[in-house]
């Protein structure tokens, strides 16, 4: 509750080492000897408004040195700087998206269809023979289930940058879609999406895990 207006006297010639930082434009004050902070007016700061928007308190307003305790209370001085969080952040509100529910439905439908995912080599979006076999099976299923749609997710392992892997995942998903279209599935039944390395199936940093994450994931969706 009480902040103090304090006076202080610095006595003595102080030979402090003169080390001035780069860009410091302050002149070195030559006078030595007794100085009293109490009557001294606020010294204009060379270089302007400081780092913040607040005003500078007069030096005398808080000339408090260790052990000096003979101050007088000071009111809400004009030299205060109000400090806030800096960047205010509103409470995060759920966006009301039904994405999680949608995904659960997709998982059920995908499991029922029994489709196999497609796996890729490192930094590649070329379909392997295994991959082509899996897609032939998927094409048959799509032809037999004409009302169903397919979403192809492109996934990547954790190596490389996030952004590059999003593009790589997109290429993988498109490679899968293009092959299914070659096999006679209508293109408008297949959507593609890339999750890059941001929705991994496996979380360890080893090759078997990486292999699991380099995939085109086939998801049956009714949308």
């Amino acid at each position: 509750m009480h902040t103090c207006m304090r006076t202080v006297t610095v006595v003595g010639w102080l030979g402090l080492v003169a080390l001035v930082g780069a860009g410091c434009s302050k002149s070195i004050q030559a006078d030595a000897g007794s100085k009293s902070f109490e009557p001294a007016p606020s010294q204009a700061k060379p270089g302007g408004a400081g780092s913040g928007a607040g005003q500078e308190a007069p030096v005398s307003q808080f000339g408090s040195l260790p052990g000096d305790n003979n101050g007088k209370p000071a009111g809400k001085g004009s030299g205060e700087e109000r400090v806030s969080e800096g960047v205010a952040v509103a409470k995060a509100e759920p966006s009301g998206s039904s994405r999680q529910q949608e995904m659960q439905q997709e998982q059920v439908a995908t499991a029922a269809a029994g489709l196999d995912d497609v796996y890729f080599a490192y930094d590649s979006w070329k379909l392997s023979e295994d991959g082509q076999r899996a897609l032939s099976k998927a094409a048959e299923w799509l032809k037999a289930n004409g009302s169903q749609k397919l979403a192809v997710e492109g996934h990547c392992d954790e190596r490389g940058t996030q952004a590059y892997n999003l593009v790589l995942g997109q290429k993988r998903a498109k490679a899968v879609r293009n092959y299914l279209v070659e096999l006679g599935v209508a293109g408008n039944r297949i959507t593609v999406v890339s999750y890059g390395k941001d929705r991994p199936f496996c979380r360890e940093s080893n090759e078997s895990c990486y292999q699991q994450n380099r995939r085109g994931h086939l998801v049956v969706s009714d949308k």
Binding site: V59, F62, A88, R159, Q170, D198
Partner: protein, 433 residues
């Protein structure tokens, strides 16, 4: 984990000659081995009225800020007998002690309650002037007490460099929470993470608006829609800026805040577009068969660095902000990506893959003449982002297993982890000052 400064130019006199040619650049001066940091002592903060005695915590916050500024060398004042508590004789004894130990600046203060606020008073004593050069009073609610110490640190940096300081800056990042990845904002030293989005699925790669009021990012709105949204931090208000078919990723505001650049695959492969935020006019900047992504503005706003695999492997390219004058910048290694142009313009940080096949951080000058690898060891480093003073980078790394956010000096020293716990933290973006 060891991070080494590796530079092919380091040993030659040429490196220092280059540095000296940019003598006006404080960044370079502060990284020169002969740069004399300013010796400073933080005596402490008296906190007698307060029950939880925050004085020593504030002292540590201020010391850490000053150390990270790279302008000051923080003296262990306790070893010199320069402490706030205990009985003192005449104050000149204290100053004499400081002078004898070569300390150029002394800082001390007090923290007290003034309901419902806390008041932090800080006094700066300059050893050259031999007088108190500033008395700062910061007032705020108890939760912002750390911010008050940060402000005092920035005041010191300002007084001795004329620069705004970074202690009050923030870092936006992505963190995994219950299976979804959401945006967060934390203090520059990793304290006080605040959740920004709660979309329940996947939000990626935030970037700040120049006024620090908005983040722009990619959000996966549905199975087929990946939009670029802006969110106003103070209100949570959302605006969808880009909603085209395909990938819409790596958005970035221009330095003057009038344009947004991003990559989109709506016309086939990923290309870079520029959108005027005022008129929503869209301009396609790249035209080729490779993927083009991750545009990063030069601080002048006149050029962009970006990633393209048009040459077979991802490399960093430069172009003018209108898409003209494209030229390749990186030639070493077969994977260079995620460029970030330093606020001083003199470096572009990026993820490089060296001979050990690890994804690490490199710096290259925009003329391609200087190249430095600043991190090494295991793990995938990603998403470098510069501090506004150009002396530090934040980035994500899996060097310790899980992906965490780290801060490092731009010369590769003083690695510091900012996140703890959690499952996965990525895509840090440092706010403007």
């Amino acid at each position: 984990m060891r991070y080494l400064l590796i530079t092919m130019l380091f040993l030659g006199a040429g490196f220092w000659a280059i540095l000296e040619s940019g003598a006006a650049d404080v960044f370079l001066e502060a990284t020169r081995p002969d740069f004399q940091k300013i010796p400073i002592a933080v005596l402490g903060f008296r906190d007698g009225q307060l029950p939880d005695n925050p004085g020593s915590r504030l002292t540590q916050v201020l010391k850490d800020d000053l150390r990270r500024s790279l302008i000051f060398s923080v003296t262990d004042q306790a070893k010199l007998g320069l402490t706030l508590d205990g009985a003192y004789g005449a104050q000149n004894v204290l100053f004499k002690q400081a002078a004898d130990n070569g300390i150029a600046v002394l800082v001390w203060g007090q923290v007290a309650a003034r309901q419902p606020d806390l008041v932090l008073d800080g006094l700066i004593y300059d050893g050259v002037k031999q007088e108190a050069i500033a008395s700062k009073r910061y007032v705020g609610a108890p939760p912002v007490l750390r911010q008050m110490a940060h402000r005092l640190a920035d005041e010191l940096v300002y007084r001795y460099t004329g620069e705004p300081g970074i202690a009050k800056t923030k870092i936006a990042f992505v963190s995994e929470q219950g299976g979804s990845r959401e945006l967060y904002v934390m203090d520059y030293d990793g304290y006080g993470p605040r959740q920004v989005t709660a979309d329940g699925f996947l939000s990626l790669m935030p970037r700040w608006s120049p006024d620090r009021r908005h983040l722009v990012f990619t959000t996966y709105r549905s199975r087929t829609k990946q939009d670029i949204d802006a969110i106003e931090l103070a209100t949570g208000k959302r605006a969808t800026l880009v909603s085209m078919p395909g990938l819409n990723i790596t958005p970035a505001f221009s330095p003057d805040g009038t344009d947004l650049v991003f990559a989109s695959s709506n016309e086939g492969n990923a290309e870079i577009y520029k959108m005027s935020l005022g008129t929503k006019t869209l301009t396609r900047l790249t035209v080729n068969n490779g993927g083009d992504l991750s545009p990063a503005w030069a601080p002048s706003g006149r050029e962009l660095a970006f990633v393209s695999d048009r040459g077979g492997s991802p490399q960093i390219y430069l172009m003018s902000a209108d898409g003209s004058n494209v030229r390749r910048l990186t030639f070493e290694g077969d994977h260079n990506a995620a460029p970030a142009w330093s606020p001083r313009g003199n470096w572009i940080a990026y993820v490089c893959r060296g001979q050990d096949r690890q994804y690490k951080l490199c710096l290259i000058s925009p003329d391609g003449q200087k190249r430095i690898q600043i991190t090494s060891g295991q793990g995938v480093d990603d998403s470098p982002s510069w501090s506004p003073d150009g002396r530090h980078l934040v980035f994500s790394s899996t060097a310790e297993g899980k992906s965490h956010i780290y801060m490092i000096n731009s010369d590769g020293t003083d690695l510091e982890r900012l996140t703890s716990g959690g499952v996965h933290h990525s895509a840090p973006a440092w706010s403007p000052a």
